[in-house]
């Protein structure tokens, strides 16, 4: 490989930012081979983060320095940098205020907040006095809508997010480059039996000692006594299914990785929670970070993974800080690293941050992102259990899925399966937001009805009537008041043509006009499509245009023509897209248009 360097030199700040990740460059021009380059490519994303955080954008000089150090072709590195919305490849103000406009925030006044922001700070995306504000996809603070986030570049870079945001706070954040001081909101509301949430809000998330005093790390000790096979047996017996949306049997996945002869095995925790309306994983990571670290260690032990990566979305600053702290504490006390608990098992865990790309929650896109490539999904098969991160067998699980593991190890799979239904076992976290009295995370037994869950949250806000519920997320489905008795299980929701997805339950009362929300969902998928395959890249654009025509009551021809067009679009996206993003990009919209046919008339 004969790299053509970028001629713009880096600034001293950019060199320092790159060095902070890669170490000081003492032998700059020493030739190294392609193999070296491949081995270091995964450091590209951390280096881009460092450049963005230090100077506020990824400049040609900074990118050139990264490419020189990592032996990455500049065009490829630019392709990666320009893929993520939290990176800028042209100059930007040091301070950027992000205002969430997705479904829960839209129901919580985001449009009014954006209008006020425009009046005070100028149009979105316009620099003014060293700052600017932009609209943002879901920030995962849906229980405190509307949400905002501020990023400030510089010597001491900062990312902070907060809920119940006011325009005064946005203006202050733009001026100060910092978020408001807030007492932490109660992250979760007590439900039936608090398995997953029992330490959240109760035990100090920054203290390993407090975690251990509350029963932490007993499960890891037990797992090591049981041995890997017995741990997998219990997980299989628990019938735990993935909580990220795909609902794959966890035990089967673990067994598949454990039995792979190829080494090393990787463990990846998918903490790229970005599905609009979803914030359960954030609550677990912020409120009980050691539990996730312990769960990952158990998973690594069971599936013989030597190394693990915890991939957290870039919009979760508090969760990131707490997990980093938890990992360093666990390392310092022999719960991570070499010879854990003196039993000869080694597991190295590293945290990686996403940079603003919903698609990276798709498992193969997440691997590509970690590896330093564009977050583009690839075809399956082969599946990650065989060919995953760096082409090796990889166990990838969602945060909530993993957090169930310590209890399964301690109490046995059978005890776990006693809660819930025969097929959908255990408890589940649901993210209630929108027009609901008490938005928040609720943990209920699988099989609890939608009605009971909503009653637990105090019902529809202000005693109004219910119009619709978005179940499962932007990639989920709209259901109506007559679906309230559906038990919240994989099988029962499937029966009514819906999905639990990532546990999203967004309520719309009878004042809500659905079309603007459908348009925003369409706009979200258009923004978040990776652009690789035609059905999704162009289909999401055409879907949004179609909804705009319906909403403006200016259809091409009569409405039946638009209906036929939508049916074709939806079928092609479902059938021919590479990954789940395109395959589900029309699902919520299709379900709403079907349930409320008057929407076709622009109602």
């Amino acid at each position: 490989m004969d790299l053509h360097p970028i001629s713009t030199p880096p600034t001293p700040e950019e060199v320092a930012a790159v060095n902070a990740v890669l170490g000081v460059d003492c032998a700059p021009d020493e030739p190294s081979g392609l193999r070296d380059a491949e081995a270091r490519r995964h450091l590209l994303l951390p280096v881009l983060h460092a450049l963005q955080a230090r100077v506020g954008w990824v400049s040609p000089g900074g990118l050139g320095e990264a490419c020189r150090r990592l032996l990455v072709p500049p065009a490829e590195a630019y392709g990666v940098a320009s893929f993520y919305s939290l990176f800028a490849t042209s100059p930007r103000p040091q301070t950027v205020v992000h205002v969430c406009e997705d479904v829960a925030c839209a129901l919580g006044g985001a449009e009014a907040l954006c209008a006020a922001a425009e009046a005070r700070l100028g149009p979105a995306g316009t620099p003014r006095d060293g700052a600017m504000w932009v609209r943002s996809p879901c920030l995962g603070l849906c229980e405190r809508a509307p949400a905002a986030m501020v990023t400030k570049a510089g010597e001491t870079p900062l990312t902070a997010s907060w809920g119940n945001a006011t325009v005064d706070e946005l203006v202050a954040a733009a001026r100060a480059g910092a978020g408001p001081e807030r007492a932490e909101a109660a992250p979760a509301i007590p439900g039936v039996s608090l398995r997953l949430l029992r330490r959240v809000g109760v035990v100090d998330p920054g203290s390993l000692g407090a975690y251990r005093a509350a029963g932490g790390y007993e499960a890891l000790r037990r797992a090591m006594e049981m041995g890997p096979n017995a741990v997998i047996r219990e997980v299989t017996e628990s019938k735990l299914m993935g909580r990220g949306g795909a609902a794959f049997p966890t035990g089967r996945k673990w067994q598949a990785v454990a039995s792979q002869p190829v080494r090393p095995h990787w463990l990846v925790c998918n903490a790229d929670e970005s599905e609009p309306g979803t914030f359960k994983d954030r609550v677990l990571m912020e409120g009980d970070p050691f539990r996730l670290v312990e769960a990952m260690t158990i998973a690594a032990f069971a599936a013989a993974c030597e190394r693990g990566i915890l991939y957290v979305r870039g919009e979760y600053p508090l969760a990131t800080a707490r997990l980093k702290h938890a990992i360093s504490q666990a390392e310092a006390h022999g719960f991570l690293g070499a010879d854990i608990l003196g039993r000869g098992f080694s597991f190295h865990l590293e945290l990686r941050q996403g940079a603003g790309a919903y698609i990276c929650g798709e498992e193969t896109a997440l691997f590509a992102s970690i590896e330093g490539f564009r977050g583009e999904p690839r075809s399956k098969p082969p599946f990650p259990v065989e060919v995953g991160l760096f082409g090796k067998p990889t166990l990838i699980n969602n945060v909530e899925t993993l957090c169930n593991v310590p209890d399964i190890v301690l109490n046995g799979g059978a005890a776990f399966a006693k809660v819930g239904t025969a097929q959908s076992t255990g408890t589940r976290l649901f993210c209630l937001s929108g027009h609901v009295s008490r938005p928040g995370i609720y943990e209920v037994a699988s099989g609890t009805t939608l009605r009971a869950l909503i009653e637990l949250a105090g019902g529809v806000a202000n005693g109004r009537a219910l119009r619709a519920i978005l179940l499962g997320g932007a990639a989920g489905t709209f259901v109506g008041p007559d679906d309230l008795d559906v038990p919240l299980t994989f099988e029962d929701t499937r029966r009514i043509g819906a999905t639990l997805g990532s546990g999203v339950v967004v309520l719309f009362d009878d004042t809500a006009s659905l079309l603007p929300h459908l348009q925003r969902i369409a706009g979200f998928f258009r923004d978040e499509s990776c652009g690789q395959c035609v059905p999704c890249r162009v289909g999401t654009v055409r879907q949004e245009e179609l909804l705009a025509r319906i909403s403006n009551r200016r259809p091409h021809g009569d409405v039946s023509r638009e209906q036929a067009l939508f049916a074709d679009l939806s079928q092609c996206m479902k059938d021919a897209s590479i990954c789940g993003l395109g395959q589900t990009a029309s699902s919520a919209i299709e379900s709403a248009m079907k349930r409320f046919p008057d929407l076709w008339e622009g109602a």
Partner: protein, 303 residues
């Protein structure tokens, strides 16, 4: 030893070697499967989704170019589902891209009855470099009356070839040819994302400032004429490109001892384009700058 795999394609049983794709199996049976992003000399990227087929037991259609044949698979290549997706892929492309110089795509559009006008008239073209400056994750909410396109002015920054990205279907072929599949130059990559995903050099610098070595292997694989010899583009602009007056001649490159096959397009006794047939095993369709652009001297005259 390579094992054999038996599968059924459109009711016919066929045996293929392990590792063969569904496309290989269909082709062996004489089934003409449409492809845009696939080429025999490139790694399958399966992004155009033109070649999708129905696999019994699968939830979605599968890309035949990349999906490996497995024992007992039952495939259907011409069901209503398959035809709908193929027609939609073509409509989506034709409604957003200038496909006027994409002969294969136009033929497929006819075969599948694509009606791209269903999405409305084409929206206005972007200004020069506007799409290249797009920040990912943001877009203006559309009115929907017009269909958004990738139309934009072409990039002309050298005397050898032009880049007309208003004709680009983002099939990744040029990126692959520039990268590990042929040239290992890495002058271009896909940048941005979503509808604003585009082929780009770093920071959209011109080719003379990029790593480009003008091998033109990207032109050789481009299925839409987005990458074109400047000599061809100039003739087309002048209304003088006339395929009826053209002849194609195969010869061997005179420059070095490798012996690459050149395929010369000649019009009015001038070489207007140099391609290389991918099926010739010497270089699988690849050339260097000399073979690609260094033979027009024969008609330059003088000395």
């Amino acid at each position: 030893m390579i094992r054999a795999v038996t599968l059924t394609v459109d009711g016919q049983s066929i045996e293929v070697p392990e590792g063969a794709t569904l496309l290989d199996a269909a082709t062996a049976l004489g089934i003409d499967t449409p492809t845009l992003c696939w080429a025999a000399n490139l790694t399958p990227v399966n992004v155009c989704r033109m070649c999708v087929v129905e696999l019994e037991g699968a939830r979605t259609l599968v890309p035949s170019c990349a999906r490996k044949a497995e024992e007992g698979m039952v495939i259907h290549t011409d069901t209503p589902r398959v035809r709908t997706s193929r027609r939609m892929v073509l409509e989506l492309l034709q409604s957003s891209v200038d496909t006027s110089t994409a002969p294969d795509l136009l033929a497929y559009a006819k075969r599948y009855g694509a009606e791209p006008a269903r999405f409305g008239p084409h929206g206005p073209p972007a200004n020069a470099n506007e799409r290249d400056a797009h920040h990912p994750g943001h877009h203006h909410v559309p009115a929907g009356a017009e269909a958004a396109t990738v139309h934009q002015p072409r990039k002309v920054d050298n005397e050898l070839y032009i880049r007309d990205y208003g004709k680009c279907i983002t099939c990744y072929k040029c990126v692959e040819a520039c990268g590990t599949d042929a040239q290992n130059t890495f002058a271009i990559a896909v940048a941005g994302r979503g509808f604003e995903a585009r082929i780009s050099t770093e920071y959209n610098v011109g080719l003379p400032d990029s790593a480009c070595v003008y091998c033109g292997n990207c032109i050789n694989v481009c299925p839409t004429g987005a990458l074109m010899f400047k000599s061809e583009a100039d003739l087309r602009d002048a209304g003088k490109w006339d395929e009826a007056k053209q002849t194609t001649t195969r010869t061997i490159c005179p420059y070095c001892g490798v012996g690459c096959t050149l395929e010369l397009t000649v019009q009015d006794n001038r070489i207007v384009r140099v391609m290389s047939p991918p099926e010739v095993s010497v270089t699988n369709g690849n050339l260097c700058i000399k073979g690609r652009f260094g033979v027009t001297y024969v008609s330059e005259g003088g000395g």
